[in-house]
Amino acid sequence: MSGARLRGARLRGARLKGQPDLIRSVYKYGPQPNGLRLCKAVRDLIFPVLLGCLFSMSAECAEEPGNYLVVGSYEDELRATETGERLSGEAGVEVLMLPVDVSGQIYYRLLVRLFTDEYDQARLKSQLRYAGVGDMWNTSITGSEPGLRSVFAVIDYEDVDLDLGLDVDIGFDIDSTSALAESFLQPTRLVKKNFLTAGSFRDAEQAEELYQELSADYEQVLVKSANVNGVDYYRVLVGPVDESSEEAFKAAARDRGIVNAWILRDVAVEVIEPSVAVDAGSDFREELHNITPSKTRMTSPDISRSQASPEDKEPATYNAAKLRKEPSPFFLNEIQPTGENNGRWRTDFAGEFRAFDKPGINDLDRNHGSISFQSEYYKTWNDGDDIFAFVPFARWDEHDDERTHLDIRELTWVHVADSWEVRTGIRKVFWGVTESQHLVDIINQTDNLENPDGEEKLGQPMINLSLLGSWGVLDFYVLAGFRERSFPGIDGRPRLPFLVDEDAAIFESAAEEWRTDFAIRWVQTFGELELGLSHFSGTTREPRFDLQLVTNSMGMPVDVVLVPVYEVIEQTGVDAQYFVGDWAWKLEAISRGGQQERYSAATFGFEKTIVGVFGSRADLGVIAEYLYDDRGEGAPVIGEDDVALGLRYAFNNVSDTTALLVGLYDIDSHELVTTLEASSRLGANWKIIVEASIFSNGKTMQENFRGFLAVLANPETGLDFFQDEDFLKIELIRYF
């Protein structure tokens, strides 16, 4: 039975809070051997005076000069003290408080001593941040600034009267005098011992609860109180801790669940001596030692999790070093623990600005601004077996009314089972492996207005059944409805010199845009080889154009209107990737029939990734592809005998900055398109994308009606119409 507990019992009903030490001390000790009692009374008379002096001295005690980290600055001293105490507990370091006058206003700054070792410093900062500290900056102090004090320099620990059921704890009837008398007769002496702080509360009840919980596990469990600026803090101490085994003690306590604890040194405790007369003289000297201000010492930092910050909880329940129970508040509320993100919207707004180098053959505006918006609603249920997604998109363009458009990118329900999936609704599907062009990708119509490079797609209504097996993945598609390609209006750029009359589109199929198309695809992985085979049967997504002359009253052609013709095609495609070390070899090949004569086209190349290029963190990818179309120069596509070379640079930095430079070169006509695309995140919610394209080496033409007609009628037309369409695009996206 510890002396502390007994004393607590004796104090029951006799707690005199706020009374001077003198009176309290009389009640503190009760009947004792006269000599000892006298010594103690004297001690308690004289030493509080000394104590007071020492206290006031230590309030301005000299701290170590040097470099410190400012971890907080408060106008309210009490708030500063509370925070300092909490930080000290959580980060396991000593915290000093320094009042500073800034333009007439007193701020209370919390300081933490900097480590000399950079690695330890980083750990300390991470603990502080985890404990909720935001900005930190360095300062240096002389150590003797007025008002500088350690937030934990608790000078005077009082024993606490825990008058809540403590008598039950004692285990014997308090009124039984024999046991009490026995204890009274036992001499006690004060010794200094080291203890581990297990908890710090402002509410005595909480302290007592913890005390009860731990009392069985340790030789001594104490509850000590300290009064800091009028507020009582109740600290639960466990121990005593042997100096030689401090780390082991702490580790064992950690395993028991006591985290964020620190060793409190030189705590004066009364120890019952077995009937040994105490030498009063040595007692005094020892007491003198005990009165010196005991500061917490920095123990080796531990990365430990913070509890909820005191602002979130009732002050009375806050515990600086407690058994870990609650989950970390670190995570944002929107993330469900390991659940799916259910029923949530994500939105982004983008502002796009395009600057064209020249007015071009159509003599159009050089500056085009536009804004766009895309949102996504995503919900799962049945533990992810059913998924619903809705993605609307809209763009408004400053000049081009055609480019101002709306689309539903996705409106889909996916049902997942063990070996099959069914996906219905408006969706987007991507097939293919190459970088410069996507021959095999055919399901979705290109959103030609967004970007002429063909990377953006319109949503396609479909029913898709996906079967999974050890033989690979087999997808069946029923494509309900057809989406026509849209073309820029009269004020849009880049565009052909003649407008496209979309309303007059000609369909081979009688059902026109209501035709149901079909597609099938199989993929399988064979070690380092990934293979895909596909077949599509339906209306082609890429129209060819019929030229319709517009004549004047005299029968002279004055204008040309391009009418898209959508034929029904059969396209078989194969795509393959083969990985060898850093090299990824890629192939896409198609054979298409139905658009006039059957033809085939292929893209073949590689992508090599150099990890940590030039000894840095960045990756450099080298891309080289050859584009072929057996229709030769007459092919109405860009890539009929072309080479694409590209460099992809990934900075691998915090902002995920990447840059891609691609040159597409026509071997026969020597036309060259150079494109640079770079993107980077800005802060947490913004992203910037910069894109520039330069068209060079095109044929010159007469920039009039006849000239254009001549070029258009010539099957070997390449990018002639786009020679003056060099542009720079900057897009800024904000995510919500």
């Binding site: 980083a122 985890y130 993330i335 390991t338 999974l468 990985f579 990890v611 963190r617 947490a684």
Partner: protein
Amino acid sequence: MPIMGFPGFVFFLTLILPAFSVFAESAADKGLAIAQEADRRNDGWVDSKVNLEMVLKNARGDESRRQMRLRNLEVEDDGDKSLTIFDTPADIKGTGLLSFSHKVEADDQWLNLPALKRVKRIASKNKSGPFVGSEFAFEDLSSQEVEKYEYKYLRDEVLDGHETFVIERYPVDKYSGYTRQTAWIDKEHYRMLKVDYFDRKNSLLKTLHSTDYQQYLGKFWRPGSMLMYNHQTKRSTELHWQGYEFSTGLKDSDFTRNSLKRAR
């Protein structure tokens, strides 16, 4: 007379030599034994789900945070499968990474780019590259199989109050970014407490501290926090793991290209 002459002598040696070898356990054997025991203690978790917050800090103190969800599947006789889905920052929301790690061969990885609806397979020799710009390389986060390293036991040491074995391990894969790693494994529970990473020039590159270990299902220890500090660039990355769940019923079909595509 049984033991006579030279054949008898040889016979006699074969009886006693095994006894000698027990006493002459090499540092390599002991290192391997420690690694195997650590692996054994981590057997049988079946599958797990966890949330992860990553705090990236540069030398100046600027911070950047990422949040992601991880699912892992234990595979018999091979490395684990994992599916990582990013939640923040906003522009990579919904990006997913599927990874099949193997005992000896390089990992297979696929990246899902939701904006393009494209699943791109990553060249697998990229293991030494940084994972989303952090100080953790892909190989640091993929499942630590015993066969991926050769081992050597160095000494015993007390670290942060724990008795530990200190072992050195040498990556077997030539594409690894490290020549060697020094690992502190605690004796009581065989948890990895600290790892020093040495780069290709054999100079100290990074140190990983794993703390806040908690035990799950009465057997498996998982750290609550990890700090990777790069001594050369003074950058660091902290990982905070939360909400561990085990044996949640995940299957192979949850770790396929299809599941990668539909995860958001």
